[in-house]
Each structure stands twice: as C-alpha cells, then as structure tokens.
C-alpha cells in the first residue's frame, strides 16, 4: 500500500516537473526575445539589456533554468507584462473560482454519472441504455462554448433566471451570499457537467457491464437476492472506486472545459484570466496559468488516487 502511494507521489512530482520544464524551454526557445514582448516599439538597446539582466536573460540557459526552478519553489511566477502585478497574486485571486467551478462539476458528474452508467449497464439494450448511449455520443460531440452560449442566451438573457458575469453579488451577506454564489455558479456548472457527463457515463456503463459479469455477482444472484439489491449493494460498491479513479483521469479535460466555460460567462476564474491575457499577449500570466492549473490537476488526481486506494482493499498489496 505504501509502495503504491509512493509510486503515485513520484508520478505526480515527475508530472509537475515535466510541465514546469517544458514551459521554461518553450518560453526560451520559441520567441526570439521575451523583452521585445514587454513593450512594443521604442526601446533603446540599453533598456533592453537592463530588462534582460532584470529577467536574468543574460545568463547561460541552464543557470536560468536553475533560477527559474528556485523562483517557482518559492511561488514566484514572474510579473505580468501588462498589469505589472506578480503573476502569483493574479492567479491566486482567480484560482478559488476555478476550483469551485471544476470541483462542483467533478462531484456532480460523479453523482449523476454513476447511476446513469449503472442503469444503462443493467438494462442493456433497453430504453435507458439507448438513451444513455445517445446522450453519451452527442454530449461527447458538444463544443462547450456552443452549449454555454445557448444556456446564457436562453436562461440568462431571455428568461433572466440567472445572472450573467461575476461569481457573486458583492452586496450580499451571510446566507444570501451563498445563494448568490450558487445562483452565479448554476449556468457555468450546468454547461460543464452536460459536456463531461456523456462520455463519462458511457465509460462507466462499460465498466459496470464488466462488474455485472463477475462471479460474485452471479453468486449473489443465485442466492436469490433481488436484482435491485444485487446491483446497488454488490455491483455498485465495486464500480464506484474505478468511477472515482476514472474521473481523476478526466481532470485535465475538465479544467480545459472550465477555461472555455468561464470565458463565455465572464466567470472570474483562471480561465477567464487566460482569455484576457491572450488578448494582451501577457505571456507570464499564460505560463503561470498553465503551471498552476497543471499543479492543481496533478494534485487533485493524486488525491483521488489515494482516496480510492484508501477505500479499496484490492489495491493494498
């Protein structure tokens, strides 16, 4: 068990290190000179040199890499080109909203996806199964901004049921604040879940179908347990853990979806920050956003793996 945990931890650290290293070399190799991007136009060579040494760009690349790693460990992701604020500060301002959105989407997808997958697998070939398959394949083909725009126009603008933009009404206090939070969260969350849920339910359906073919299920059936009891007490128990791990693997896609959703709804998370930074070509922010999202995804993935491990006696070898 410890060995499994250690190997997962090693994999997580390796992934973060690779993400960080790739980012560093991309930034150094792709554009001719990062200082040219700071301010367009009129810069004397002297100013450029000053900027270069300020960013440590006059040192050998390996030394730069070492410096960069050192800065990262201290949580320093550089300074935004446009807003002249530390990138870490900008990102930490936005991260909670992305965590809230992606985290609730994660939980909701699990809560709806598991029963859907189970019902489909149990009634294979029946109406529920075919509905799940139809939904799964369609939802897999949905483009998140399309869905988000549709929901925004219908429920936000036309019906006016939900607010557009922002994550909370700043004037609310106490319980009303939570209400406002949920009210703002509803549409972005729904569009994200709608797109995530389909492929997830489809995969679960396959997993569940395998579980239903296992010996202990046959034995439970032969003991005369009701089908309902067999499915919900015996089969589901063994389908939930793979379901959790599977969702962990989906985290990268989920975050990508959150970036697009936030953009449409002007939800103030990291994704919306990315959209704003793209327009201003603010590279340190884009880089920092990728690093922080990668770390978030890897840590969350590690967490789901360790949680499944703690719950699952089979992995404890």
């Amino acid at each position: 068990m410890l060995r499994y945990a250690a190997s997962r931890l090693f994999r997580a650290i390796l992934t973060i290190w690779i993400a960080v290293t790739v980012t560093f070399f991309l930034l150094r190799l792709l554009p001719a000179d990062p200082t040219l991007l700071v301010v367009e136009g009129d810069m004397t060579p002297k100013m450029q040199d000053a900027l270069r040494s300020q960013y440590g760009l006059d040192k050998p690349i390996l030394q730069q890499y070492g410096l960069y790693l050192g800065q990262l460990v201290q949580g320093n992701l550089g300074v935004s080109f446009r807003q002249l604020v530390p990138v870490t500060e900008l990102l930490l301002d936005r991260l909670p909203w992305t965590l809230l959105l992606a985290g609730s989407a994660f939980v909701l997808t699990l809560l709806i996806g598991i029963p859907l997958g189970v019902y489909a697998a149990v009634g294979r070939g029946g109406p529920v199964d075919r509905a799940v398959q139809f939904f799964g394949i369609t939802s897999n083909a949905l483009f998140i901004p399309s869905v988000a725009i549709l929901l925004l126009v219908v429920f936000g603008s036309n019906l006016g049921w939900f607010p557009i933009g922002q994550a909370i009404d700043p004037d609310t206090r106490g319980l009303a604040a939570y209400g406002s939070l949920l009210h703002h969260l509803a549409l972005p969350l729904f569009s994200l879940v709608l797109v995530q849920l389909g492929p997830y339910a489809l995969t679960l359906r396959t997993n569940m179908a395998e579980v239903l073919g296992e010996d202990y299920i046959t034995s439970a059936r032969s003991r005369g347990l009701t089908p309902r009891r067999v499915v919900w007490r015996h089969a589901l128990r063994n389908a939930v853990l793979p379901a959790l791990m599977l969702m962990g693997l989906q985290l990268g896609t989920l975050i990508g979806g959150a970036v697009l959703t936030e953009t449409v709804f002007a939800y103030p998370g990291v994704g919306r920050l990315i959209f704003e930074s793209v327009q201003q070509l603010d590279f340190p922010v884009l880089q920092g956003a990728f690093v922080i999202l990668a770390v978030t995804v890897v840590l969350a993935n590690l967490l789901t793996d360790l949680l499944s491990m703690a719950l699952n006696p089979r992995i404890r070898t």
Partner: protein, 295 residues
C-alpha cells in the same frame, strides 16, 4: 479540446455494447449510421473544397448589419454586416484542414510510439510514463501557451494540436499492440529472423490497422474541437475564418443575446462534423468486430 471520446471503442467489448441490437450482416454501410455519417463527412469535405469557389470571402463592411437569416443572407449577418453563411463555408475549410492534418500527425506519432512500446519491452516504461504524464496535464492551457508563443496561424494550430494529441492514440494502440505482440505468429516471425522494425511494421501494424483507422476519425473529431476552442479563445489564425472565430466575434461584439444566428450555425457545424466523425469511427469499429457482426 473539451471531452475526449475515451473508451468509445477502447475495447471490443465496449464496442460490442455500443450496438447491442445489431444482428444484421456486417458491412459498414448496412446500418443507417454508417452511410449517414459518411454522407455528412463527405458533404463537409465538398463544402470545404468547393465552397469557397462559389461563396465570396466574407470581408469588408456591409450595409446590412445584424440581419436575421433571409433569402439574401441564409445565415444572417454579423455586427459588421458580413455574411455568416460565407463565414461558416470558409471556416469549414480551416476546420477540416486542421482536423485532418493534425489528426494525421497525432496518428503517426501515436501509432509509432504505441507499437514500439508494445513490442520493445525496454521502451515500454518510458512510453507509458510519457503517455500518462501527457494525459494528466491540462492540454488546453498548454496549447494556448504554445500557440501564443509561436504566433497564431493555421500552421501553428495544426502543429500544436497534432504534436499534443498523440497520447490518447498511443494508449489505445499500445493496449491493442500488446495483445497482438503476444500472439504465436509474432514468435514465429522472430524465430525466422525478422528484426524488431520488420515485425512492428509488417506483422503488428497490419493487425492493429482497423484501430488506427478508428483513431484517425476520433482524433480528427477531437482536433476539430481543439481548433474551435483555441480560435474561440483568440488563438486562431487572424487572417482566416474558422468556426471558433465566428463565435469569438459574437462574444467580443456583445451580440450573443441579440443575434442568435451568429452563434447557432457555426455551433451546429461543429456538432454535426464531430458527431459524424465519431459515429463513423464507432460504426467502422463495429463492422470489423465479429462479435457485433452477428456472423
């Protein structure tokens, strides 16, 4: 980029489950989903190749601003008076181009790595780890960063999406290749003195070829979504139209709520194309699988 069609066809059993009722003869076109999906794909290809010959490139300022769909403007016009139908037609070319070429790049890399990992034992841990690492990273933010650094253009989009979409392919091809590599005829080939590259290219590759074909379609579908996502975030080629860019324009000009036609038609185009590619992939997989062919 959004969701990956993971496990739509990861294993034969899953594929078998996809179409439980099929008990007909096995050809690809024997089910309506077969010819329908290929028909839609063909239609998109025709529009991409010949559409721009008949429809003028949407450019300049028109006088008909934000017109709803009519005989003169089938899909209406945007806030600059540009024809949305023309934008969708020209966008088809870019979306298909990026989808097809990026998919081929990803398939090339993915198949090579997957087969190498399946047959060469020493390579397996390296490839598997690289695949796992890539799959666990948030791909869209990475694509945004790389595209922004390289400078947005159609070539950049194709390269970035192609070079970052191979892990899903590698995973599937490796899993399938491992099964094939364990078969007796591979040992036979080795005994006869065939080298690793010959065995991989002449013996294993033909056996996993059907899965490669399926992956071309599924990866192309993902690439189309990725391209639309990047363009929507402003990372598209500024000099050419794409479906994502039409949505971005609507978002930027604040006409989302009033001009439904500006977002509806490109959205439908994305949905139809991706759906057709996915269904064609699944149908092809089913029609190759003896279990679902009802032989």
């Amino acid at each position: 980029m959004s969701t990956e069609p993971q496990s739509l066809v990861t294993d034969p059993q899953a594929a078998a489950l996809t179409t439980p009722r099929r008990r007909r003869s096995g050809g690809f076109f024997s089910a309506p989903s077969g010819w329908l999906s290929v028909g839609v794909l063909g239609l998109f290809a025709l529009v991409a190749i010949f559409g721009p010959l008949f429809v003028d490139s949407p450019s300049g300022l028109g006088t008909d601003i934000l017109q709803s769909p009519s005989g003169a403007h089938w899909f209406g016009t945007d806030d600059l008076g540009q024809d949305v139908f023309a934008q969708v037609v020209w966008g088809t070319r870019i979306s298909l181009l990026v989808g097809a070429v990026a998919s081929l790049i990803a398939i090339g890399i993915g198949t090579l790595l997957g087969l190498a990992a399946a047959y060469v034992k020493r390579l397996d841990p390296v490839v598997t780890t690289a695949t796992d690492v890539m799959l666990s990273l948030p791909m869209l933010p990475l694509m945004i960063l790389v595209t922004a650094l390289a400078g947005p253009s159609v070539v950049t989009l194709i390269t970035v999406i192609g070079l970052l979409s191979w892990p899903e392919v590698t995973r599937m091809i490796r899993a399938n290749g491992l099964v094939v590599a364990a078969m007796p005829y591979i040992d036979g080939a080795r005994v006869l003195g065939a080298g690793a590259s010959r065995i991989i290219s002449r013996e294993i590759l033909p056996a996993v070829m059907p899965l490669v074909v399926v992956n071309v379609l599924l990866t192309a579908a993902r690439a189309v979504i990725a391209e639309a996502g990047l363009s929507f975030l402003g990372m598209g080629d500024p000099s050419s139209w794409s479906w994502g860019r039409i949505l971005l324009n609507a978002q930027r000009s604040g006409t989302i709520a009033s001009a439904w036609w500006q977002t509806l038609f490109p959205s439908l185009a994305i949905l139809l194309l991706v759906l057709a590619a996915t269904i064609a992939g699944i149908r092809y997989n089913d029609s190759r699988d003896p279990r679902t062919r009802g032989v």
